[in-house]
Symmetry: C2
Subunit: 166 residues, 2 copies
């Protein structure tokens, strides 16, 4: 598996992963009426942020199994703390794609000199993601009760998670 910066040419291959994730509706509070055009700005970051793809290696080459975006969580006097999001193709679950992207994200923030990484809204029933981030050292700073409408679980909390890099 290779992780590399995404280009605008990758978007048509990233979009099915984005769309499947948003339509499943269990992990992100994105608008529900996004199209391949209107969703691009929600995922494809510009500097100082960036978006990457994880590609499967091999002779077929280039199949995109996952994607992540990262960058400053806030502008101005908050831009020393980063944030990130990632999505894994439904057919690639359980193969370590999420973990590889998560480790990449943490290393990128270290390399760029960020003082910490904050996640603003990790759905508490997204147990795989919560555990993965906790494995990498993130802690839950607080949980906003009932802040997410899960199609499966109803009103569930959104965790604020944080990793200090200083």
């Amino acid at each position: 598996m290779t992780i590399r910066p995404a280009t605008i040419e990758d978007w048509p291959l990233i979009w099915p992963i984005f769309d499947a994730t948003v339509q499943a509706g269990e992990t992100y509070a994105f608008p529900l009426d996004l199209t391949i055009e209107t969703s691009r700005g929600w995922w494809m970051e510009t500097p100082p942020g960036r978006t990457v793809v994880l590609e499967e290696d091999g002779h077929q080459g280039g199949r995109i199994l996952g994607t992540a975006k990262m960058g400053p969580n806030r502008p101005g006097h908050g831009d020393h703390i980063g944030t990130a999001s990632f999505m894994v193709a439904p057919e690639a679950r359980g193969r370590g794609v999420g973990r590889a992207l998560a480790e990449h994200v943490v290393q990128w923030h270290r390399d760029e000199g960020y003082r910490g990484i904050q996640f603003n809204a990790v759905v508490e029933t997204n147990v795989a993601a919560v555990r993965l981030w906790q494995d990498l050292g993130f802690e839950i700073l607080g949980t906003v009760p009932g802040a997410f409408r899960s199609p499966e679980h109803g009103y569930v909390g959104l965790h604020v998670m944080f990793l200090s890099l200083v």
Copy 2:
């Protein structure tokens, strides 16, 4: 004092308050290079959100002493929780402008059927704002350590605050 929806014609009178607040740099993580043009989208909300101004009554009429914006904190499956920001003109501090705007904001969310109000980033050294929101029933759910660079205090925390409306 009267609170009413802001119109686009109000923006030149709101901008000095916005600019003074952002340039002071102690309370909001907004970009530091905003102009009267580029900052408008950071403050003037569109439905389902809205922006209001607080005007001084009297025969002179119409002096804007403060402004607030409010609306859903997240789109999609998170849009049942609101958020808000407010700014008070430097020369109008200590006259209850912030409290009047805060009470207005809470009532608006109640009237609109929101299930709660979340503040994502209340600077912990902004003691007046923290106390005001606590007076209105908000609690601190967690604090992101060092997430804000205060010109006066250095790295300080950002509180996540919440008021349940159900």
